[in-house]
Symmetry: C2
Subunit: 220 residues, 2 copies
């Protein structure tokens, strides 16, 4: 999918059953959502039941690298050749959409849902790239200004790879949408913007250097 194709393949499970007009399979749109944060929710099946764990990820081209620190269960499953069936979901919330009727309340958001089979990254070179990407996804440029992982740390790090293939994005970015009959009701309708903000960096006692450029850029 990385050879210039504009869209990922559309499949039954990446075609929403409701609000289909909010969905897209365009690579650029999907990558833009994925590049907008670093937290994902990783879903897999353990002992026949669904499990959803929050963890960090990075996008490198058409690959998602997902950190396995939240538990070793998904990692064990992803170790073998057959890999681990996963669903990786990324959600950015942009607004509370408040309408005059309870029923029409909504949320402005951007989300990506990626399905596929994840495999554990075992090649040390790929693992090193993935670890740098995980640091840079949250703080661009930071991986060049930390001590890189050594061989022992690389061996102790569990990262899984999911190649983007069966993936879609969904977006709502719109005003309150009341029924015509409700528009005259004396209630407040509109949108309350929601955003994620970074506060003032608090240095650890061991920090002797000034705030580096990669953090000044990040926190504005």
């Amino acid at each position: 999918m990385s050879d210039g194709a504009a869209s990922y393949a559309r499949t039954p499970r990446t075609t929403p059953t409701r609000y289909r007009e909010r969905a897209t399979w365009e690579q650029d749109a999907i990558h833009a959502v994925l590049d907008g944060t670093w937290l994902c929710h990783l879903g897999f099946i353990a002992d026949g039941a669904p499990v959803v764990l929050p963890t960090v990820y990075a996008r490198v081209g058409d690959r998602l690298y997902i950190h396995g620190s939240t538990g070793s269960r998904p990692m064990r499953g992803a170790k073998g050749e057959q890999g681990l069936p996963v669903c990786v979901t990324v959600t950015l919330v942009d607004g509370l959409v408040l309408t005059k009727s309870a029923f029409n309340h909504s949320v402005n958001f951007r989300s990506v849902v990626a399905h596929g089979t994840a495999h554990q990254v075992t090649d040390p070179e790929e693992l090193s790239v993935a670890l740098d990407a995980l640091v840079d996804q949250a703080v661009p440029g930071r991986s060049a200004e930390v001590r890189p992982a050594n061989a022992k740390e690389l061996a102790a790090t569990a990262v899984i790879r999911l190649v983007l293939d069966e993936v879609s994005a969904k977006t709502r970015d719109d005003d309150a949408d009341d029924d015509e009959a409700d528009l005259g009701l004396p209630y407040w309708a509109g949108v309350v913007p929601v955003s994620t903000v970074l506060g003032t960096p608090a240095p650890h006692a061991s920090t002797t250097v000034p705030l580096p450029a990669h953090l000044r850029d990040l926190v504005g």
Copy 2:
């Protein structure tokens, strides 16, 4: 679990395999995390594969009510007597934890993972309570100042109920934690606070009333 018990039962799948000291099964701690947001990630199995969808929820005592607007697939499964096995995960991000080594980077967060079998809410009275709670979870007090759902809207709304039972919370709230040998390195280490903020409410063209108290309280 609602009759004064201080903790939810601890089971193998609510006992993390790593960082066990970050986990709790205490009701108050779990409820506090659940009351801190209104977005969850709902995991279930569809056609043998894991699916994770973002949606809104509300907590009412020991019950989570989860809105099914993100797709009808989970709703169909939850309709029968046997219900739908789900995992509901709620995550609040509090900080980026930046260390001098790439390896020790972390995240300050609070999360709840709830396992169980969800059932569709079909009783109109319970559905009405659930819909009010979904509105109030995001904007406390708002359900009293909107037009309530009518019978037709209630019938068109899919809400599933998950009784909290097999559930745990996990928290990291700490400074950067570098290895002793790295403390002298000339890199910046510390915590960058992360928070979700609400912006200035933007009224819809149909809004003729001033900003109500429930929104003034919300946006400070």
